[in-house]
Amino acid sequence: MSEDREKLKQLLLSEEIAEIEALRKLLEDQQQFSQKVSEVLDRATDITIKNNPKFQKKFSKIDSKAYVRAIKANKQTFIDALLPIIGPMIRQSVTNAIRRFVADVNRAMELGLSAKALKWRWQSLTTGVPFAELVFNNTIEYQVQQIFLIDNETGLLIEYAGQEGALLQDKDAMSAMLTAIQDFVKDSIDNESGGLSAAELGDKLLWLIAGNKANLAIVVKGAPTNRLRDTLTDACENIHIEFSDDLVNQETWNNNPELKLQLEQILLTKTQSDDQDSDKTINWWPWLLIIIGLFGWYFWSNYRDQKNQQQLLEQLNQTPGFVLQSLIKDGDQYIATGLKDPSADLSHISNQIQIKSTPFISLEDEMIAARAKEYLAMDGIHIHAENGVVTLSGTKSKPTDSSEKFDNLVLLPGIKSGNNQLTQQQSIEEKLAEFLDNNPTPANLKITAAQNTIAVTGQTMSSLSVPFLELLNQHFDQVNTDSLEIFETENLKKQISQSRLPMVNPDRINDEQKLILQTVVQAFNLLMTENQQLKLKILPRSDCQGTIEESNKNINSRGELVLQALLDSGLQPDDVLSEIVYCDQTQNEVNPDLLGVWFEVKE
């Protein structure tokens, strides 16, 4: 049964079976199948894209990871491919950067140094207008600052060029607003003349240049010319010719570097000097000033260095015991190489100099003297050396101070012989004795000498001691008068006349009264050192209370007691006078203030 069916199938479908077999072979043979598919692939793609536009997007998707992988795997291939493009671009970019830098420096110099710039700065200070604004007003005729290329129909931004930071609004919103304004003007005010073509925005100007598919909205600062408008209109037309497809393809809007570059080329600036000296490329004056300044600075610093070096050279050459061999500048420092005597003093040399020395023995007179001084180690003596002969002068404090060392001086290098002119130093006690022999000591003064100081003690009258002390100070460096009391004549006389000895009991003198008497005697004795003719007058008194006889008796008794006490204190009878005033009438009241003895000094 099945065999019959197979035979029947062969008879009826043998051609179809053969075709199916051929097709299977074709599908299984990959090379042949690929060949066949490739023949229709191009047409099939076109039909697919036509029927399904989204299909194309699958091919236009960028797989950034795939790119990175490809670059990593074929680094050299990419380098080889990009080098011919990047090389000239870099060169062009560097050239442009240098040109811009030179232009910027030129401009900066012009704005920084010229009288014009100073005038503008002054204007800016006095008027409050920003300096940049003044520069712009005075140097820039106009400047195209921003360009919007806007689709006519939707009002959407196709491309933008300019400083994005200067935008007050989102650039897309601005494009839409500009379109809305234009539509409003066109629709409401003037539909025939093509709508709005210019508007003023503060100190800026907005130009609208209509195109077939897109409008150019341009923000210009300054005073643009009609020529600029023509240029921009030409640019708008060129854009419509060169980018006609891009203007209708929304996929490329806001992401079209070529179109952006085209717009950036019409960000034009015209300076006021462009017309006058358009052939002028570089302003040489600032450069000339810089070069002169640099030369000036170079020569001045060179001169200063030379002068400094000359001063250091002189300083080193004049230093005894140092022989300069070379002086080399090393940065901010100098290195001095030379021979140095161990006794040479280099402390005064500037700290700019670093000394590199080799020891040697100098035979200069100053060095010989310094060496001798170091060896003798004696203070206060003067050492002079000349042609190898050393002379010592001054005073020595001890007799044995230098004799042995002096004898050995000739053993030192450079010393041929010595000349000792030292004198023995006098002690202060000896000097004082000699002084006192020539100048007698005033009475009551005690003069002593100890540890280089003269001490003057005691009590003395001013007229006697002052000339003596002046002489003493002239002869001695240190005179100590801290313990010396000097009195004036009138003061002492006054002191005595104001002294009163209260004496209620006329029969005896107590210890307290004795002390008062002693003070009076001391003062009188001092006065006597000045004038031997003086007399101390005593004035005994009574209050005359009671009987006259008794009072007068008491007066006499007080006078005698005080006189005796004065004589006992060392006064001579001739030195004392008494003046007794007796009572001639009695008083009723007791007055202790009148009971006592008063004193006076008489010549």
Partner: protein, 158 residues
């Protein structure tokens, strides 16, 4: 990033500007201020799309809104849930600008926060379904569905 032009259309005082303010600035002003001409706002929706929203002054006779509709990628019709007359205004607009019927559109039924004042009939839904692909109940005051409404239109116009 692609820019898409969206136009807000509707009777005056239905809340078009408030919806835009809520969506762009997340802000709602109680005081009513009428829009003169058109107000433009922008909002970035995602990495690829930026909406340029044209908030067109409320429809009245004699106002010149038609130029602003040119080239719109999408339309948002706005009606007032408390004012059925605002739906009739959409009829007038569509009659005046029949080309709008071909544009992708959504309809915002606004002021849903005024629950006691809502005057709505089922027939209104049918009418709006004829005009727009989707009807979304919104409140600019509370922000209800505003973001979602704009997102919905963004999805439709892609």
């Amino acid at each position: 990033m692609k820019s898409k032009k969206i136009c807000m259309i509707g009777r005056f005082a239905v809340g078009k500007t408030s919806l835009v303010d809520r969506f762009v600035k997340n802000h709602f002003a109680e005081k009513y201020q009428t829009t003169v001409g058109v107000a433009i706002s922008t909002k970035i929706m995602d990495e690829t799309t930026k909406l340029i929203i044209w908030d067109i002054a409320g429809f009245e006779q004699e106002n010149h809104y038609k130029p602003y509709l040119r080239g719109a990628h999408g339309i948002i019709y706005v009606v007032d849930a408390t004012e059925p007359e605002s739906i009739n205004t959409l009829d007038l607009i569509l009659a005046d600008s029949p080309e709008l019927a071909d544009k992708p559109a959504v309809c915002f039924v606004n002021k849903t926060d005024l629950k006691d004042d809502i005057k709505w009939q089922d027939s209104f839904d049918d009418k709006l379904n004829d005009i727009a692909k989707k009807t979304i109940w919104t409140s600019a005051k509370t922000g209800e569905n505003v973001e979602d409404g704009f997102a919905e239109l963004n999805k439709i116009i892609q």
